[in-house]
């Protein structure tokens, strides 16, 4: 078993057997350029300074590490702390990555960015970063999602972006990614593609992880300042895997810190009823990299389901596959029903409406806390706020709150 503290990915973007670049030759040149530029940027103190500046003054970081007294009491075990990414500008961790990549775009002298989006969170975050830096921005979004997520479409337009409705395939996130990749192949000379999670071909998984690592780095510092020690357990939800990767990465070498990734258990373990890629999937290639993926018997991408749009993805970042195989991170899942219950509990007990994605992490966090003593510390990555999910939760509760 390889040590998880070794430097991954390697120069070809391999995390053990995972990652890499499974893309058309057309993109290889651009990916190599991007890797080079990113490597330079990462080592450039001036770039770091800019990133830190916008994180602090624009995004509102550091986000608090908040002791959830009432959730702790309810769980009746370990002390629960919430890393409040919901307080970031635009309401989730997504913006960290978008600001990072937009800064990189500016540095590369490219005037245009594109992005894919599912429910619209990454689209809004990208449109936000594009507005901030005066970049032209087009966001690909499945036609189905455009219909369902009118509010986010409106926001992207208000931020000056164009939203392109994708009519192909399942007309959802997967197709938006395919379409964005296609756009990029034709426009790579002047366009950067801001991928929204730790997925896609190298260098995206490593780059997005690095930008998101500000979550874990801050958490570590805050644990040190507020608690005088490391946490015992860190829990985060896993869709593509960016908030979790950003949270976990700085703790990887701290072998005493238990890391738990929570996937969408949906309605059950049957194919098509969940989006638990690491729990139920197998290694495969999707959207440019090798990682766990949910596929049917023929290798076609499987249908997935989750009450939470941000977890409803049949793939996962390659580094997670690596962490799973090396057992550095334990992956589990939480069902739709449990997540909705978690949403309700967190709202009523802490006065914080969690994103449904985040609700998955809360449920697991409380489960773990229950089994541990009050001396222990469980940190939950509170990836985003739940405002965006109120319509869906209300719909599931049989209330109509639209119009």
């Amino acid at each position: 078993m390889p040590s998880t503290t070794e430097k991954v990915p390697d120069q070809h973007g391999h995390f053990g057997p995972y990652g890499g670049r499974y893309v058309p030759e057309t993109l290889m040149h651009a990916l190599r350029q991007l890797t080079e530029q990113y490597d330079h940027a990462r080592d450039d103190p001036e770039f770091q300074k800019q990133f830190d500046y916008y994180m602090r003054h624009y995004v509102g970081r550091p986000s608090p590490l908040y002791f959830a007294e009432r959730l702790t009491k309810e769980a009746g075990g370990a002390r629960i702390y919430l890393k409040r990414e919901d307080l970031n500008h635009t309401g989730a961790h997504k913006i960290n990555n978008c600001i990072g990549q937009a800064l990189l775009t500016r540095r590369m002298g490219k005037p245009r960015v594109i992005a894919e989006t599912g429910a619209g969170q990454h689209g809004v975050a990208t449109a936000t970063a594009a507005a901030l830096f005066g970049l032209k921005c087009q966001v690909y979004m499945g036609a189905e999602d455009v219909r369902r997520q009118k509010l986010n479409v409106f926001k992207m337009k208000a931020l000056g972006s164009e939203v392109i409705s994708v009519e192909s395939g399942s007309r959802t996130l997967r197709d938006a990614i395919n379409e964005a990749m296609r756009d990029w192949m034709a426009t790579v000379a002047h366009t950067h593609y801001i991928i929204g999670s730790v997925v896609g071909p190298h260098p995206f998984p490593a780059m997005v992880r690095d930008f998101q690592s500000i979550i874990g780095t801050e958490t570590k510092q805050q644990c040190h300042d507020q608690l005088g020690r490391l946490p015992d357990v860190v829990v985060a939800c896993v869709g593509g895997g960016s908030n979790s990767a950003g949270m976990f990465f700085p703790f990887i070498a701290d072998r005493d810190v238990e890391l738990i990734g929570v996937e969408a258990g949906g309605r059950g373990a049957q194919a098509g009823d969940h989006a638990s890629t690491l729990s139920y999937g197998q290694p495969g290639v999707l959207h440019g990299s090798l990682s766990y993926v949910l596929q049917d018997a023929d290798g076609q991408t499987a249908n997935v389901h989750s009450v939470s749009a941000g977890l409803d993805y049949p793939g996962v970042g390659p580094e997670h596959s690596y962490w799973k195989d090396t057992r550095r991170v334990r992956y589990t899942n939480v069902s739709d029903a449990e997540a909705l219950e978690g949403f309700a509990r967190c709202s009523k007990l802490e006065g914080i409406l969690p994103a449904l994605e985040t609700a998955h992490a809360i449920v697991e966090g409380m489960r773990v806390a229950k089994q541990r003593s009050h001396d222990d510390i469980v940190v939950i990555c509170f990836s985003g706020r739940g405002d965006k999910d109120c319509f869906e939760v209300a719909r599931l509760l049989g209330e109509n709150i639209e119009g």
Partner: protein, 272 residues
């Protein structure tokens, strides 16, 4: 000798060029795909590229993705495609490899079946080569080794953005022919072919003895005429596949005939 190698040897000796149509297996159905293969062979196809529908084809254009989606929605499986190939190579111009068949398949599908398993089944069915458009050379070593062992050609792609040293390496790894992408971007019809392409082709000639075939965006006789002096073959995909968008408004046989006519038009331009 592998039928693809044999084909280009034959064509070169006759100073002719290969005309390579592409279409999707199972769009609109497998029976029609078989008919279409015979139709295009009759109208001048030298080699046929058969697309394996995949749910998330980032390497293909919208026209081909739509075709893939149509086929998959009908429940098409890979085993059925292999059965089609198996059936084709027992008859007419496909028997004995006179018109070789190559598969165009995403690495996602290859990986899922297991690369060696996939190649074994492809070879057994009668495919002479495969094109895996989302498998760049960095990831391709293993598959290339296995393909050589099974005498299946692994046709690699170069693009206008590929740096020269890299193109040399790609050419070195490719077998059967070298697939030269004509434009930056994805498959789909274009109005014009870029001039730099011709330069690139000339330079590639100095680097490799492999046949050079150009694809992506070729749809008109003018394109074919322009390319002819510099290439060993042209590949035409979207211009054919998009005809199936008419299904429902036109009888299947009429569309098959239309495609045949178009292939004849283009292959004549190549043979002029």
């Amino acid at each position: 000798m592998n039928p693809i190698d044999a084909l280009f040897q034959r064509l070169r000796s006759q100073q002719r060029k290969a005309f390579i149509p592409f279409f999707t297996a199972g769009d609109p159905d497998l029976e029609t795909t078989a008919k279409l293969a015979h139709e295009v062979a009759r109208h001048g196809a030298s080699l046929i590229e058969i697309g394996f529908p995949y749910s998330d084809p980032i390497a293909d254009g919208a026209v081909i993705q739509a075709s893939y989606t149509r086929a998959l929605n009908k429940g098409l499986t890979i085993d059925q495609i292999f059965a089609l190939v198996r059936q084709l190579v027992q008859q007419g111009p496909f028997k004995g490899g006179e018109v070789p068949l190559a598969g165009m398949v995403s690495y996602s599908l290859v990986h899922h079946r297991g690369p060696d398993n996939f190649l074994a089944q492809a070879a057994e069915a009668g495919l002479s080569g495969v094109i895996v458009p989302d498998l760049p050379i960095e990831e391709a070593a293993e598959l290339a080794r296995l393909a050589t062992a099974r005498d299946v050609k692994l046709i690699q792609l170069v693009t206008p953005t590929t740096p020269r040293d890299r193109a040399t390496r790609i050419a070195r790894m490719s077998t059967g022919f070298l697939y030269c992408v004509s434009v930056v971007g994805i498959t789909g019809e274009r109005q014009e072919l870029p001039a730099e392409l011709l330069d690139q082709l000339c330079w590639l000639r100095t680097q490799t003895d492999l046949p050079l075939c150009v694809g992506f965006g070729v749809s008109k006789p003018e394109h074919v005429r322009m390319l002819k002096p510099a290439v060993d073959g042209v590949i035409v995909g979207s211009a054919i596949v998009r005809r199936w968008e008419q299904i429902g408004t036109k009888p299947i046989d009429a569309i098959v005939r239309e495609i045949g006519d178009h292939v004849e038009l283009l292959s004549n331009a190549l043979a002029e």
